[in-house]
Symmetry: C2
Subunit: 192 residues, 2 copies
Amino acid sequence: MIRATDTREQIMDRAAQLLMSRGYKGFSYRDISSHLGVKNAAVHYHFPAKTDLALALIEEYRQVLRKGSAEFMAYGGPALPQLQGFFAFTAHQCKLGRCICPFGAFSIDYAELPEPLQKATTEFMDETLKWFTQVLEVGREQKEFSFTGDAKARALSILAALQGARQMARINGIEILDTVVKQIHQDLGLDI
Amino acid sequence: MIRATDTREQIMDRAAQLLMSRGYKGFSYRDISSHLGVKNAAVHYHFPAKTDLALALIEEYRQVLRKGSAEFMAYGGPALPQLQGFFAFTAHQCKLGRCICPFGAFSIDYAELPEPLQKATTEFMDETLKWFTQVLEVGREQKEFSFTGDAKARALSILAALQGARQMARINGIEILDTVVKQIHQDLGLDI
DNA sequence: GTCTATAACGTGATAGAC
DNA sequence: GTCTATCACGTTATAGAC
């Protein structure tokens, strides 16, 4: 049996793959419809404008990260699994050809994006930074790992390194991401 | 007096600005020609295809970085000025609205780029990494700064962090770049 | 919900006059 | 070296039949 929302989900699946492999300007409605074996207008029925699609995509991605972090943010708990889960998730995405995270994709076109999409992008980053800062703070407190200085600055630097590594991985292979993740581990006193 | 190559240079200037502020897909020949007060065809005269323009841009950018590093690579010398010159250059570019470095711009569209442009992008990254690794090695040797572990992995991580910070700076302001650069300084034992 | 058909537009690119 | 004129194409998006 096929649910009514099936096409909508398939559109979003394909769009996510395209967004994270080609960037926002790098895919069209035709890329989606032809892959699903439907017509252009069908996609427009579910997402009238490309902006609507983009908004849904970034919202979905935020939900994914939120689900993994909600419990931690609410009640605390060990920080290490959060850290390693995040790294594993990132690596997994890249291995699926999803090297460009939505944030990275929209950052390129940011200046030309409609306001709601700009807002969603900014919030996505703020949310991620807030969560990751807390992970670092808790982890240091619980002595799961160690680092010096301001936790937020450290969180920002690690997220930036991860973001940049994803970009580089597109050109020179995912080993680069592994190298950077190892370096981060080492800097946090998590040598294996 | 106006030199014959004047238009060509103006095209490249404008194109560089557009590439680094909107990405490769984010600007058109019209954006360039209208800004210079000439027609579309004039731009095509100097750069028949957009690929030619892109190739010239990345080549020019490589030359800029090469000029700053050639002497160092050839004869050695203090590493700290190289390091700080690079950070200053990066920050300056961002302040001019050139947050997206050519490497970052082309990494998004990498898979769809013609082979020569792919090659130039890869070489640009390899060259930068090679130079920066040597800067770190020499600097550690001369005790200008300090860090542990493999120099190449460290170089890669710092370049990645810088790259990611530029991306984030587009959304949340250039203070983010400052924060990350400070963090790098701290990690290299260069606290001020 | 999906289709056909089509609009309106921007794009990269070329030919040929000046 | 720049112009006018034009092309072929892909894009987002809409109207209306089924």
